[in-house]
C-alpha cells in the first residue's frame, strides 16, 4: 500500500519513440487504468514500473523508494499477465506459495497465507490441482491470488481479463474490484476496453501514441474529454466545428450552439463534443424540456433497434447526429420522422486540440 510515481519517463526502441515524457502519480490504494489503443505504450509503461523495461530517461518511485535501477525481484510488486503465466509444473497452492518462499515464509505460516489468498478468490478447495486442470477464469484467479499473497507495494495487471469471454470477464471485474478494495493495494491496470476502465477505476489515464492525453476520474474523462482522441476513444461523440460568435458557436450551416464552458474570443475556431445519449429526440409537437436550450430540427435517417436502447441517426441542415435513446416510447421513431433534438449546454464540451 504505497503511492507510485513516474516522472518524465521516456522510452524509444531504435528510432521509434514508444513513450514520451510521462509523469503521473498513482495515489496510495487507488485503482488506475491505463487505457489506450493497441500500440499506445500501455504495456511498456507498466513494464517500466515493474522493472522489466529500463526507461531511457525518467524516474520510477514506489513509496519513498527510487526503484528506477532496482531489479524486478527486489521491487516487491505483484503482477498479473494476460496469459495467466502460472507455473505449469506446480500445484495451485505451490504457485501461490512461490512468492512467499522467496520472502522466507515457509511451512505453516505460508500454508495459512496461501489458504487465505485462495479463499479470497473463491478457490479454497483447489490447492492440490495443477493449473492445467482449471478453466481460464479460475487460472486467472490463481494468478491474482499469487500476486497479492505477498502483500506487494503495487499490483500491476496487463490486460488480465482480455482472454476471457464476455460473461466471465464481467464477473471477474466485480471480483477484481472487491479484492482490490479489500486488500487496499495500489493497482495499475492496463486495458484497451474503455467500458472496463470506466467501471473499475478511480482514475483513468488515456494514452495516445506514447503520451498520457488525459487523466482523471471516469466521469471526468468521459463527460469532459479534452481531446478529440479522448472523446472518440471513450465512446461515440458528436462533433461540431464552428467559430465563436457572441458567446455561442456558430456552425457553417447557420446553427448556433451554446456551451456552459468558457469559450475563446469572437471569431476563434472551436470544436464542440456532445455524447449521443445526452441528446433528447422528440417529435416536433412534443413540449420542450427545461434546460435543454440547444434545439435543432431534423429528420431521422436511420433507426437501429437493440432491445433496451435505440440508436438514431438524424440529419439536421446537413449536420449528422448520432443519438442513443432509451426504449421508452410506445413506438420507436422510424426513418423519415421529423424530429426536434435538444440538449443542455452543460453537456456541450469544447475540445482543446485542433478540429
Amino acid at each position: 500500500m504505497t503511492a507510485v510515481d513516474v516522472t518524465a519517463i521516456a522510452k524509444s526502441y531504435g528510432k521509434v519513440e514508444v513513450l514520451s515524457d510521462i509523469t503521473t502519480h498513482f495515489p496510495e490504494g487507488s485503482f488506475t487504468s491505463l487505457l489506450g489503443p493497441s500500440g499506445s505504450g500501455k504495456t511498456t509503461l507498466l513494464r517500466i514500473i515493474a522493472g522489466f523495461v529500463i526507461p531511457d530517461t525518467g524516474r520510477v518511485t514506489i513509496g519513498e523508494r527510487d526503484v528506477t535501477r532496482v531489479p524486478v525481484w527486489a521491487r516487491n510488486i505483484g503482477m498479473v499477465f494476460q496469459s495467466y503465466a502460472l507455473f505449469p509444473h506446480m500445484s495451485v497452492a505451490d504457485n501461490v506459495a512461490f512468492g512467499l518462499a522467496q520472502r522466507g515464509v515457509k511451512g505453516e505460516p505460508a500454508r495459512r497465507e496461501v489458504q487465505r489468498a485462495l479463499d479470497m478468490v473463491h478457490l479454497g478447495g483447489f490447492g492440490t490441482r495443477k493449473p492445467k486442470q482449471l478453466s481460464g477464469g479460475q487460472q486467472q484467479r490463481v494468478a491474482l491470488a499469487r500476486a497479492i499473497v505477498t502483500r506487494p507495494s503495487v499490483l500491476l495487471l496487463d490486460e488480465p481479463l482480455s482472454a476471457l469471454d464476455r460473461r466471465l470477464r464481467q464477473e471477474m471485474q466485480v471480483e477484481l474490484l472487491r479484492i482490490q478494495r479489500e486488500s487496499g493495494l495500489t493497482t495499475i491496470f492496463v486495458t484497451h476496453d474503455q467500458e472496463e476502465a470506466l467501471t473499475l477505476s478511480d482514475k483513468v489515464a488515456i494514452l495516445d501514441r506514447g503520451r498520457i492525453v488525459q487523466i482523471g476520474a471516469p466521469t471526468e474523462v468521459y463527460e469532459r474529454p479534452r481531446t478529440r482522441f479522448a472523446a472518440e476513444f471513450l465512446g461515440d461523440t458528436n462533433f461540431f466545428t464552428g467559430t465563436v460568435a457572441d458567446g455561442r458557436v456558430s456552425l457553417r450551416n447557420g446553427m448556433r450552439i451554446a456551451t456552459a464552458s468558457p469559450l475563446p474570443a469572437n471569431g476563434a475556431p472551436v470544436t464542440l463534443a456532445v455524447r449521443p445519449e445526452k441528446i433528447t429526440v422528440a417529435t416536433r409537437d412534443a413540449a420542450p424540456e427545461d434546460g435543454l436550450t440547444n434545439r435543432v430540427e431534423g429528420a431521422i435517417i436511420a433507426s437501429l433497434y437493440s432491445g433496451t436502447a435505440l440508436t438514431y441517426e438524424v440529419d439536421a441542415a446537413g449536420q449528422r447526429f448520432k443519438i442513443f435513446a432509451q426504449n421508452r416510447d410506445a413506438r420507436p421513431l422510424a426513418r423519415g420522422d421529423e424530429v426536434t433534438l435538444s440538449w443542455s449546454p452543460d453537456h456541450t464540451v469544447p475540445i482543446e486540440d485542433a478540429p
Partner: protein, 308 residues
C-alpha cells in the same frame, strides 16, 4: 461466482476413426483402423521385428549359422557374464562411460539450448542451432579421428599450450576414458541440445517474468522454473544418448586404444573378428535387458515428469 462453473469438461466430440463421416461409402470402423495402421505395422515388422527376431534366434545357437559347423540350440551365451567374469569389468566401464557421457551432454546441452532459446532471436538462433547440430552431419569416423589429432601427445592441444608456455608438459590424454567420453559427448550432444531446445522454446517469457516479479532471482528462476519445465527434454535426451552410448564401439576403439574395451567393442569383435555371432547377439540382448531394467526402475520418475 461459483468456483466450479467452468471446471466441467465439455463433451468431447466422437473422434474415433470410424465415426468420421466419409464421403458416402461407410466401412466398418475396425477395417478403417486396420487399413490405416497397416503401413506402420508393416514397417515395424520389416525394420525391427525381423532383424531383431533373427538376432534373437542366433543368440540361442551354438555357432554362426553361415559356417559349415553343426548348429544346435543352447543357452550358454547368456551365461557369458558368469563364464567370463572379465565382462563384468567391461560392463562397468561401459556403464561409467554411458553415465558420464549422458551427464556431460545434459549439462552442456541444456545450457547451450538455454542460450539458444533465451539469449538469441530469429535468424541468428537458427544459424547457431545448425552449427551445434553440425557434428551430426559429419562422418563419425572423421569426427573421431580428428580428435586423435587434437588430444594425442604433441597434438594440436599441446601445440596450443606450448604456444602460450613453451615448457608446458603434454596435455595429451588420448587412449583414456576421458578421451572416449570426449568423443562420445561431441557426437551425441546434438540430441540433448535438440530435445532441450524444443522443451525450452515452449516456455513462455511471461512465466519467467512472473517468477521474477514474485521475488525470484535468476538462479531461483533457473532451478525452480526452467529446469523442471525442461525436464521432459532432459529425460528424452538422456534416453536417446545413454542407450546407444552403452553399445558404442567406434569411439572406445579409436580414442580408448588399449583402455577402450567396452561392451560395444566386445560385441563388435564377435561379429567382425571372432565370427561368433551368437555370443554377440546374446551380449546385445543382455545389454538391452539391462538398459530396460534401468529404465523400468526410473520409469516412475519418467512418468511423473511427463504427466506435466
Amino acid at each position: 461466482m461459483p468456483a466450479d462453473a467452468a471446471s466441467r469438461t465439455p463433451p468431447t466430440p466422437d473422434r474415433a476413426l470410424g465415426a468420421v463421416p466419409s464421403a458416402g461409402l461407410r466401412l466398418p470402423s475396425w477395417l478403417v483402423t486396420l487399413t490405416m495402421l497397416l503401413p506402420t505395422y508393416a514397417w515395424l515388422t520389416l525394420a525391427i521385428l525381423l532383424p531383431l527376431g533373427a538376432m534373437l534366434s542366433f543368440s540361442f545357437m551354438t555357432a554362426t549359422p553361415l559356417g559349415k559347423k553343426e548348429v544346435a540350440f543352447t543357452f550358454k551365451h547368456y551365461r557369458a557374464f558368469i563364464d567370463q567374469p572379465y565382462l563384468i569389468g567391461v560392463a562397468w566401464t561401459s556403464l561409467l562411460i554411458g553415465l558420464w557421457t549422458t551427464f556431460l551432454c545434459a549439462v552442456v546441452g541444456f545450457f547451450t539450448a538455454l542460450a539458444l532459446a533465451r539469449a538469441t532471436a530469429g535468424r541468428l538462433r537458427e544459424t547457431l542451432l545448425i552449427l551445434v547440430i553440425l557434428p551430426f552431419w559429419t562422418n563419425g569416423l572423421v569426427r573421431v579421428f580428428s580428435w586423435t589429432m587434437v588430444i594425442r601427445e604433441g597434438g594440436f592441444l599441446d601445440l596450443l599450450a606450448r604456444s602460450v608456455w613453451p615448457d608446458a608438459p603434454s596435455l595429451g590424454f588420448l587412449y583414456s576414458l576421458p578421451a572416449i567420453i570426449l568423443g562420445l559427448v561431441h557426437g551425441y550432444l546434438p540430441y540433448m541440445v535438440l530435445t532441450c531446445y524444443i522443451a525450452l522454446v515452449t516456455i513462455d517469457d511471461s512465466i519467467l517474468e512472473a517468477a521474477e516479479s514474485l521475488g525470484a532471482r535468476k538462479w531461483t528462476v533457473l532451478w525452480r522454473i526452467i529446469v523442471p519445465m525442461a525436464a521432459p527434454g532432459l529425460i528424452s535426451g538422456s534416453v536417446l544418448i545413454f542407450v546407444p552410448v552403452i553399445g558404442a564401439f567406434m569411439e572406445p576403439r579409436i580414442l580408448g586404444g588399449p583402455r577402450g574395451v567396452t561392451l560395444g567393442t566386445v560385441i563388435e569383435e564377435q561379429f567382425t573378428q571372432a565370427f561368433n555371432w551368437p555370443l554377440g547377439a546374446a551380449l546385445s540382448f543382455t545389454i538391452l535387458a539391462l538398459v530396460l531394467g534401468i529404465f523400468a526402475t526410473f520409469s516412475g520418475v519418467l512418468r511423473r515428469s511427463s504427466s506435466l
